[in-house]
Amino acid sequence: MIDVHTAAGSTRHHRVFRAFFRNRLSVIGGGMILLFFGSALLAPYLAPYDPYRLDLTHAFQLPTWRHLLGTDNFGRDILSRLIYGSRISLLVGIVVVLIAGSVGTALGMLAGYLGGWLDLALMRVVEICFAFPFLILVIAIIAVLGPNVFNVVWVLGLVNWPFYARLVRSQVLTLRGRDYVEVARALGANDARIMFKHILPNSLTPVVVASTFGIPQAILALAALGFLGLGAQPPTPEWGAMVSTGRDFIFQDPWLITWPGVCIGLVVLSFNFLGDGVRDALDPRSHRM
């Protein structure tokens, strides 16, 4: 019995992996993300200079061998700042999705499984959250709380959970009536066991897919907030904040906005490629968009 189970499991994993690796773009995306993660983890070893070190005599330098991507308005090495910036963007992207995904999954699960007034109330809250244009709600809350990366992380997380809650709830609603759940209940499993052992693992596929697309969205939002002066504050080497600084010198030195913009674009593009691959591999039916 156990053998049959693992055999079926490994066949499924095998199929998912094969489907993923068949998609060349998603493999490229995954590889790029690994590179970005590598640079984030090894930043102190990879970065040629201290990202905060000022050197006003060498400000606005074009790319040279000493400074591969040139220097900014304070003579700081742009490459080093970009490398350290990848730490902030990736970490924020992941933590935001972890907060939103876990809160959303837990609440969506409870709403879908228990139903009743809890479901009604939660779905109303979800509906109200969806009524706000996402970025505008975030901007407003940050404006009240004060701009810093910590606030950005938890506000983005809390504003995004309804999305995951709705996904999980609809999964739970379809799974709740399945025969295998009835069997588990007939065998004496209690609600908690049914929820966490039987329904949760089977409703996570859309959450995984949504998370892969949620990370680049969070990274873009962080950058946009940094650009507006509501995210990371200078001199933090956050990519959006770097574009914001470069904006003041756009005519003098267009490279200042170019490099961080390219980094944001590449990371987001890679995650989008990866997301396409993950979705097609895990859920071959949903193919549109």
Binding site: A131, I136, I139, I141, V144, L228, R247, P260, G265, N272
Partner: protein, 306 residues
Amino acid sequence: MIPVLIGITFIVFALLAFAPGNFVSLMLSSGVVNPDAVARIRNELGTTQPWGVRYLHYLAGLARGDLGRSIVFDQPVARQIVQAFPNTVILTVAATMFALSIAMAAGTISAVKRNTVVDYAAMLVSVGGVSVPSFWLGLVLLLWFGLELHWLPIGGGGVGSLQNGGWDFLSHLILPAVTLGAELAALLTRLVRNTLLDVLSEDYIRTARAKGLGGVTVLTRHALKNVLLPVVTTVGVQFGGLLGGAVIIETIYAWPGMGLLTVTAIQQRDLPVVQGTVLVFAVCFVFIVLLTDLLYVAIDPRIHYD
């Protein structure tokens, strides 16, 4: 819909009511130090009353069209919003129209010329368009077309510039509208292409072809009609993103709409203005979603609402 609107007003009210630090310290941090003004506003706001009472006051004010008073400009927030609102409507509508025309054209060509160089190029641009941050695209376009080539103005405009003639108004609108619409255009191009490919393989298209209709007629009279429904849905859902994007893009191009008003107010710590614009943004979005639902019925006669 009514519960949603009430929920929106409560969240917007809570933004200020439960803000850390009291309102007077907010005023002081915004640079207003006249003690008379502070005392008057504290009195007007009734900050000593419980929040339930203040919320009801807030709702009553909203019913009269009172969105509060700007701290910095000492004038009704509603007046500032009335001035800025038309500009944001113009910008978002122009961006949507730009996105729709690009997407319908590029998506259709992509689908018809499937798996050719044209198709791959369109899809590449489309994937790139979703990934490029809009504030960056805005700066790059501003640098090229405004600062380097001097083809288009680098900022300003809006309804006020209409008195300088139609071209002056349009020339200010082009860059912000293109920047704002780019992401939606990229998204919709992919959608139009994929939906059209599905539709083109259906039986009724084969029937139309078998009747001897030309390729163009089949495409325009039969196929594209069925592409409209998902496109309208997506535009409706994405409109929130468009409004959020407007905040950023209006800031870049100094387009005098609600986004610029919001960001300027945030920089000046003029929170009543932020509160007002957020409320108007959210209510707009709710109505757009409602409008999309109504459009379904107009587009697809099979759909009915009770």
